[in-house]
């Protein structure tokens, strides 16, 4: 039973369809995700390749992947706000955010593929992702750094109709999923086709495995994460990996711009997941306050505790505004295609959401654990999973926090004044 109900709001309003959708996702998650998330986190910690395929299948059947993609490609034909609502609710049911991240990656990046990729690539890949048979995420980070996207080293040489890729990617989500799911999948990947800097990069739909068969020249490793175990993280080496030109996404040497738009979209749903996890954490706190007594009184009777709670609650509400403001803007640009809104308009709103949401979530998790005390230090208490999972986004997954700050500062103060 939820303790935190969304307060009456005249600014953050949702349509009837959006509210019905939220209720339906919440019901699905209560039935299939909430009872299982701890078990998934535990099992996958023991064995990262123990991927919750059955839950993924159920989520696919419920239509929780490829939410904004066209029905033509097997997508759900929904808005980006609908996707945001779904991720918030999935993360509320799984605050380790593993399943939420699976869902958000497989909504954001297939949509980016639809925006910039070829008809053929969309017809082939998106239906499989929507059906829960393939994974499609983002592979940008390399050993020398993630934030410096323009400094990418993986090379792509064009030979006739095919690009030959050589290089290495690290800290990529889905390396295991691509191997375990029925069809396979891959990533929205960047490689250098031209000269130095951001103008020499192209984007590709790199399929490590398709139709159940592994491609040659793809050599994976799986990492041992400290949290969010239900989703694998790993790396792969590309040795003369062949990518057909139909998998080129957008224009050659324009890949940097395409991936930046993709990141904007992905970051919205990332932030959505963290606000869902935050809501779970807030409820854990409230239920604790209502039952736990110390020195003969509820611990929330100590102002040091209740005031801190109020501060965290305020940050949570604020993050929600950032997130939905960004999702509504994304709808204007990419769904409604309203010409008065441009893709670049998303930069600051997204940076705000992606910066504020994860940091609020992690700070909140830390506070909740302190309120719980020693119990939260044991593995029996599930709270630490809701701390370590979202922490991946503070560490820098899908965009480092300081890069978000840079985007905001650069936009408001002016690029020239930050040199």
């Amino acid at each position: 039973m939820s303790v935190i109900d969304f307060p009456k709001n005249t600014v953050l309003t949702f349509s009837e369809e959006e509210e019905l959708f939220r209720e339906s996702v919440r019901e699905f998650c209560q039935r299939h995700i909430a009872p299982n998330w701890v078990e998934v986190d535990k099992r996958s910690e023991q064995n990262p390749m123990d991927i919750p395929v059955d839950i993924i299948k159920k989520m696919a059947d419920q239509g929780l992947f490829c939410i904004p993609c066209s029905e033509e490609y097997g997508g759900q034909g929904g808005s980006y706000t609908m996707a945001t609502i779904a991720m918030e609710e999935i993360a509320y049911a799984d605050p380790s955010v593993a399943l939420a991240v699976y869902a958000l990656l497989n909504t954001g990046w297939p949509f980016a593929l639809e925006l910039f990729g070829t008809e053929e690539a969309c017809q082939e890949i998106i239906p499989e992702v929507a059906a829960g048979r393939a994974f499609f995420g983002i592979a940008s980070t390399e050993p020398q750094g993630g934030s410096d996207v323009a400094g990418l080293k993986t090379r792509a040489e064009k030979k006739g109709d095919v690009y030959i890729l050589n290089g290495e990617k690290t800290f990529i989500s889905g390396v295991g999923e691509v191997q375990k799911l029925e069809w396979g999948g891959g990533w929205f990947t960047l490689a250098r086709t031209g000269g130095e800097g951001h103008r020499g990069l192209s984007a590709f739909a790199l399929l490590a495995r398709k139709n159940g068969e592994l491609s040659d020249g793809w050599d994976p490793t799986i990492y041992e994460d400290i949290g969010r175990h239900g989703l694998t993280t790993g790396g792969f080496r590309l040795t003369d990996f062949e990518v057909d030109s139909k998998y080129l996404i957008g224009e050659e040497n324009k890949g940097f711009y395409h991936v930046m738009e993709g990141f904007n979209l992905a970051r919205i749903v990332v932030a959505a997941a963290t606000i869902g996890a935050s809501r779970w954490l807030l409820e854990q706190a409230v239920e604790w306050f209502r039952t736990r007594k110390l020195f003969g009184r509820n611990i929330s009777s100590f102002q040091g505790v209740s005031f801190k709670f109020a501060d965290m609650y305020a940050r949570w509400e604020a993050s929600r505004y950032f997130v939905y403001r960004a999702s509504r803007l994304a709808d204007k640009i990419y769904i409604e295609k309203d010409p008065s809104y441009k893709p670049l308009d998303l930069n600051v709103p997204v940076a705000l959401a992606k910066n504020y949401g994860p940091e609020t979530c992690v700070d909140l998790a830390e506070e909740v654990m302190k309120w719980y005390g020693a119990y939260a230090y044991t593995k029996e208490a599930p709270i630490f999973r809701a701390w370590l999972g979202p922490f991946s986004y503070v560490i820098g997954a899908e965009g480092a926090q300081n890069i978000m700050r840079l985007i905001i500062a650069r936009d408001i103060i002016g690029r020239d004044y930050l040199k």
Binding site: M1, E17, L20, F21, S24, F28, Q76, G77, G78
Partner: protein, 249 residues
């Protein structure tokens, strides 16, 4: 087959809170489609999958019903006929309103939940069937067979299980255990808004509501449990429990 499913909007019972001092319920909570109504809809959808036809969702309630009925449409009803100014409800008046709407069409089958989860009154099937002069099959835990003109059901009664048969048209009410209602997906929810909804007023139906009974009070029972929390090592705790048992029995 033309199937009518009478559905009910109820308060989201989980969210209803009680004022500690006065024991009054706080009903400023959103409404939702009753679980048993969803069981009835799910059964209708299964029948339509086998025999084809049309499913009409029928309901009487508050203005909020305009939103709640979309749940029924999202689950799979083809269209809806609703009354949204029906607030002083009683079993008699609800039956009257539903029957007036049902009379406007000729249905092969009328499905309902065997009761609603807010008050478990369980009168609607009987009252509607009597008004429309139709046979009724209540407390159905399984619909064995439906064909043109006939229906066979299993009834889960208190002390016995019955298999009964009736000609169509017929009124059937279903138990909570008959099926697991589907959760509508986004595509279904988006489609729901485009499905036709006929909205009648009580005046349109020529009905004037008057309640024949008076609600004297509606309060939560006084909770006076000690609520003493005991924690500790299993052996220690077990000892304490044994002590309490010794005292009480």
């Amino acid at each position: 087959m033309k199937i009518a499913v009478c559905v009910k909007e109820i308060y989201n019972l989980e969210q209803v809170k009680i004022v500690r001092e006065t024991r009054e319920p706080i009903l400023d909570v959103p409404k939702k489609l009753d679980d048993l109504s969803r069981n009835a809809l799910e059964e209708a959808i299964k029948i339509r999958e086998k025999l084809g036809g049309e499913i009409v969702a029928i309901s009487a309630g508050s203005p909020e019903l305009r939103k709640t009925i979309k749940e029924a449409l999202a689950m799979g009803a083809d269209r809806a006929a609703i009354v949204t100014d029906f607030t002083e409800s009683s079993p008699e008046s609800a039956a009257l309103v539903l029957s007036r709407i049902l009379e406007k069409d000729s249905y092969d089958l009328i499905l309902l939940g065997d009761a609603s989860s807010d008050d478990y009154s369980g009168q609607m099937a009987s009252r509607v069937a009597e008004t429309l002069d139709l046979p009724q099959i209540t407390f159905v835990s399984e619909i064995r067979e439906v064909s043109d003109g006939k229906i066979t059901c299993v009834r889960d009664m208190d002390d016995y299980i019955e298999v009964v048969e009736s000609d169509l048209p017929c009124v059937v009410s279903v138990t909570n255990e008959i099926n697991e209602p589907r959760i509508p997906a986004l595509k279904d929810i988006l489609k729901a808004s485009k499905k036709p909804v006929e909205n009648f007023s009580l005046q349109d139906l020529g009905i004037e509501i008057s309640r024949s009974y008076e609600i004297v009070e509606n309060l939560a029972p006084a909770v006076d449990r000690k609520q003493e929390v005991i924690e500790g090592e299993a052996a220690e705790v077990a000892g304490k429990i044994a002590e309490i048992i010794g005292r009480e029995v």
